[in-house]
């Protein structure tokens, strides 16, 4: 057990170190000159050179890399070239949009998916099951950004219940800010509903085959008690695991949805930073997301290891 854990941890660390190389290299070869972006088309060559020196772009790559890693290790993400503000503050501000968005999407997905999955398992092999499975098939096939546009068409353009995009800001108008997250969260949750429904259904089918369920049924427990009290409780373990994996994806993967709804989230921050060559922001956010994914994967491994003491072969 201990050996397995330390192996996984070491592997994750190696991956992380490799990731810093890759991210640094990719950011380094991005075409375009940040100094030119800042100073514009009338900048003179001497002004550009002076600014590059000011930001340390003229330093050897190894020095720039070590400087960055040193900062990461001391939790100093440096300052954005474009805004002049600390990267940590920028990320914090944007997380105030992205985290509630991801939370809403995940919450909504679980709320819909778990009952649907239970229902499908209950109606296993019958019309209800087919209907639910057909729905999940459609759910994973619809691009979530198009679903977002369709939601805008219906609820913002035609019925004008929700805003078509943009974000008023929590401090400015909290209730309407929450409202602004509703459509994006629904759009974002569609494929997650499909996946979680399938996971719930599969897990329910597995547990419903177990002996203790048969015992409960034989003892005359009502169908509802069997489904919810006995089967669902056990089926929730894999569902929670998958939900955890999805949570990581939702935070890092909302770029396009944030783009559709013009939400100032973390995804948009990176996207804008790429477009403005704000190198400090790109590097740090991408590596933070990578750490997030690695951490979630590690947690999932740990959870499995804790639940299932048999030694596991790497995926």
């Amino acid at each position: 057990m201990i050996e397995f854990l330390s192996r996984r941890l070491a592997a994750a660390l190696v991956t992380l170190v490799l990731a810093t190389f890759v991210v640094f290299a990719v950011v380094e070869v991005l075409p375009g000159d940040p100094a030119l972006v800042m100073l514009g088309t009338d900048a003179r060559p001497d002004t550009l050179a002076a600014l590059r020196a000011q930001y340390g772009f003229d330093q050897p790559l190894s020095v720039q890399y070590l400087h960055w890693i040193g900062g990461l290790l001391t939790f100093d993400l440096g300052a954005s070239h474009a805004y002049g503000t600390p990267v940590a503050k920028l990320i914090g501000d944007r997380l105030a949009v992205t985290l509630p968005l991801a939370g809403l999407a995940l919450g909504w997905a679980l709320l819909v998916a778990v009952p649907l999955g239970v229902f499908a398992a209950w109606k296993h092999g019958r019309v209800g099951d087919w209907g639910v499975m057909g729905f999940t098939q459609i759910g994973i096939s619809i691009p979530n950004f198009w679903f977002g546009i369709v939601l805008v068409l219906l609820f913002a353009v035609t019925w004008q219940i929700f805003p078509a995009g943009g974000f008023p800001g929590w401090a400015h108008d909290a209730p309407r800010s929450l409202l602004a997250l509703v459509l994006p969260a629904i759009a974002l949750s569609l494929s997650e509903i499909a996946i979680l429904t399938r996971v719930t259904r599969a897990a329910m089918l597995d547990t419903l085959r177990e002996d203790y369920i048969r015992t409960a049924r034989a003892k005359g427990a009502s169908e509802r008690t069997v489904l919810f009290r006995h089967a669902l409780r056990n089926a929730l373990i894999p569902v929670t695991t998958v939900a955890g994996l999805i949570a990581g994806f939702l935070v890092a993967g909302a770029v396009i949805i944030e783009s559709v709804f013009r939400l100032p989230g973390v995804g948009q921050l990176v996207y804008d930073s790429i477009n403005n060559r704000d190198l400090a922001v790109i590097k740090n956010v991408v590596i933070l997301f990578t750490i997030l994914v690695l951490a979630v994967n590690l947690l999932v491994d740990l959870a499995y290891a804790a639940l299932d003491p048999r030694p596991r072969v790497a995926a």
Partner: protein, 499 residues
């Protein structure tokens, strides 16, 4: 200065937000608050640190004032200088400063502060983006606390204009280093707070020298990038005004709403199909003329939902020195084909069109690809990110064609520059431009400017497409917003709510 900044020049004025939270009584009292939508977010807030037009729109002259001040008609009036004299040889400018002017942090303005500000514009090692506008300055002196004397190496008829730009905003030595995040100036509004990616707020500066004339108490600039989100923000009341509305195609939707005034004005932005004159086959005048004949401006403007005025040279139609040259090479596909054949390309050729990431460029790009295709030029479009466009097209001049708006005023000088990205090199134009800069009689300057327009129109240096319109949308009760955009500025000093 910050040349070719994307289309979004302005930002401007607006109203009392948070309607949803307060009752009507509070509304009446709150009428000194304005929320302005801006489509491009300023990176930093100091015009001497970054070229983005959005910085100037917000902070000049609201936060930073310059010696002169460009008004809503484009005329130069007194700014921090109450008056000035220019020596007959055009080389000596003496500015008389207002007295008793305070910075937002309580520091006083005097001639030494002005000298500090102007010196750093052209000092060696300076990283001011607009440095090249001020390199004609020989020295700046402060003979007494209220007088500033600027001496030039050679006369420059645009110096006064350049010193009135936001780029020459007067800053205090104490705050100059931190103005990017915490701008401190002498203007009527004090910087309050910024939330990156979201909003920037200002409040009225009680110590302003003419504080009684400022009616707005607080102003919030709210970043709304996407056109349809801009419409939603207006309809929902999140913003009161969008001085630089970005979506011509959505104007019809707002016109239907009785709450808003849609005001269409002029800008200094010429949209051109910039052409690499240094590269084969575009170095051949006949090829450029052929392309000029292929341009159907009516169609290009229709793609902008009808907003825009055709131009035949690089000059704004609303300027008094304008000459109409749109018929120099009238739309004529047969003529275009014939010219291409004469130039040795009877079956046309292939060309790349590298577009910056702005809506008008994408739309014009697709239309141009189709129009040039009709005379046999096969156009391959590539959409670049802004930094790539700057490096690849603008700096390295590695392109055939591009579409971009040149938004600053008085930018004909670019045709006289060596190594500018369209590689135009005309001794005739350069000589003419030297006259323009050296002339001291402004009536004569207008005639010279007309000659300049004719030279580049005849040489078909670039495809001259149309002048951008400024589309402003704001609540009908809002008074004093700029209708036109003579300079990137959302000047709030004259803006107020109708009582």
């Amino acid at each position: 200065m910050e040349a070719l900044h994307r289309r979004h020049l302005f930002g401007a004025a607006g109203a009392l937000a948070t309607v949803s939270l307060f009752g009507p009584e509070v509304w009446a009292q709150a009428k000194d608050r304005l929320v302005i939508g801006i489509s491009l977010e300023p990176p930093v807030l100091d015009p001497t640190k970054n070229a983005a037009a959005a910085i100037r729109e917000l902070t000049c002259p609201n936060v930073f004032e310059s010696l002169g001040r460009i008004d809503r008609t484009g005329a130069i009036g007194p700014g921090l200088a109450e008056s000035w004299t220019i020596s007959p040889d055009g080389k000596e400018y003496v500015f008389k400063l207002h007295t008793g002017v305070k910075f937002h942090d309580g520091e006083s303005l005097d001639a030494s502060v002005v000298k500090f500000s102007i010196d750093r514009l052209f000092a060696p090692g300076s990283t001011v983006p607009a440095k090249s506008l001020y390199t004609d300055i020989d020295k700046v002196e402060a003979p007494d606390p209220a007088t500033v004397k600027v001496t030039l190496k050679s006369p420059n008829s645009y110096l006064l204009y350049n010193l009135s730009l936001g780029d020459a905003g007067i800053m205090h030595p104490k705050s100059a280093a931190t103005n990017d995040k915490q701008p401190v100036g002498t203007g009527p509004f004090v910087f309050k707070e910024r939330k990156e990616g979201d909003s920037i707020s200002f409040a009225k500066f009680p110590g302003y020298r003419d504080a009684a004339s400022i009616k707005l108490g607080s102003v919030i600039f709210k970043v709304v990038k996407d056109p349809s989100a801009q419409v939603s923000a207006l309809l929902a009341g999140d913003v009161d005004a969008f001085p630089g509305f970005q979506a011509p195609e959505l104007v019809a939707r707002l016109k239907k709403d009785a709450r808003f005034a849609v005001v269409v004005g002029t800008t200094e932005g010429e949209v051109i199909m910039a052409t690499n004159n240094g590269k084969k086959p575009f170095n051949d005048l006949k090829v450029r003329q052929a392309m000029a004949h292929a341009l159907n401006r009516e169609e290009l403007i229709a793609a902008e939902s009808g907003f825009g005025t055709p131009i035949g040279s690089h000059f704004p139609p609303h300027n008094k020195a304008y000459v109409d040259l749109t018929q120099t090479y009238p739309f004529d596909i047969a003529k275009g084909k014939a010219l291409l054949a004469e130039a040795g390309y009877p079956s046309g050729f292939e060309a790349s069109l590298k577009l910056p990431p702005v809506g008008y460029a994408t739309r014009a790009g697709e239309v141009l690809a189709s129009q040039l295709g009709k005379i046999g030029i096969k156009v391959a479009i590539a959409q670049l990110q802004w930094p790539q466009w700057l490096s690849e097209v603008f700096k390295e001049r590695n392109y055939d064609l591009t579409v971009v708006a040149h938004t600053e005023a008085n930018d004909l000088d670019r045709y006289a520059r060596d190594g500018y990205y369209w590689n135009y090199d005309s001794p005739e134009f350069k000589a003419k431009w030297r006259e323009v800069v050296a002339v001291t009689d402004f009536a004569k300057r207008d005639e010279l400017l007309k000659d300049c327009q004719r030279i580049i129109a005849h040489d078909a240096v670039n495809g001259f497409l149309y002048q951008l319109a400024k589309i402003g949308v704001w609540k009908k009760e809002l008074v004093g917003m700029w209708e036109n955009s003579p300079t990137p500025s959302v000047d709030l000093s004259g803006v107020h709510w109708k009582a």
